[in-house]
Symmetry: C2
Subunit: 157 residues, 2 copies
Amino acid sequence: MQNPTVLHSSPEDIEQAFYEALEAADLEALMDLWADDEPVVCIHPGGPRVEGYHDIRESWREILSSGVLQIRAVPVHKIVGGMVAVHNLVEQVVISGTRGEPQVLQVNATNVYHKGPLGWKLVIHHASPAMDIEDMEELDEFGEEELGDFDSPPTLH
Amino acid sequence: MQNPTVLHSSPEDIEQAFYEALEAADLEALMDLWADDEPVVCIHPGGPRVEGYHDIRESWREILSSGVLQIRAVPVHKIVGGMVAVHNLVEQVVISGTRGEPQVLQVNATNVYHKGPLGWKLVIHHASPAMDIEDMEELDEFGEEELGDFDSPPTLH
């Protein structure tokens, strides 16, 4: 169920609410932002495609059950055309490394918002790890041997 | 330089031209599709963010220098709102595995098109590997040990 009293009047408004909900691990607030009356897609970094309001809710419930997310999101490109807005962002997400120490994961995100009767709603969140393989090999957590076979995909497309 | 005689009248039209250019390894045809008069962003699967027409051209030149790309792209979600269209697709890209055998890489792509005086142009191509880590571990090319430290990011966001 969505809360019809929360109307987001601009893409910037709903985007701010999105990252605030993640930082607060507030699943209800987060899911109020997603359209529930049209197809929606969410791709988490390194994860599978999740389609549909219900499955997206489940994916976020699982993620947020681990606690709040520390995210700094910087929009680098915005396109607005009538009822659709697209923001491409760089997210810096603080995660726990393999030895428990905080580690910053850089993520590329494309957020798509659609304006309907209830204001702007989120319809696509496509996020993927931004580090290239060379960067990853330089980290302590990723040995060169461990990623040796991971070289091919990035060079092709 | 863009070719003003090639006008794409719909998002579907330019999308078809995009994948045909990749399959033909035709850099000129490919770069005719990108807007050269506004900010553009291209994120290749597992690669870094590439911004700006010139750098995007260089990235594709390097990729296409290896030859044609075999890609089957299936749109799974389309949003059109006036001058902006967003297509979310599943791409199946045939690459050479570590032993030279053909291997299919599944990719999630979000393509953003913007309608301007020269018809529809591509302004964002965000592509990322679609396989989740469990799928990757099942492949011969990716041993469990090799990806052992890669478990954390997908579970967080």
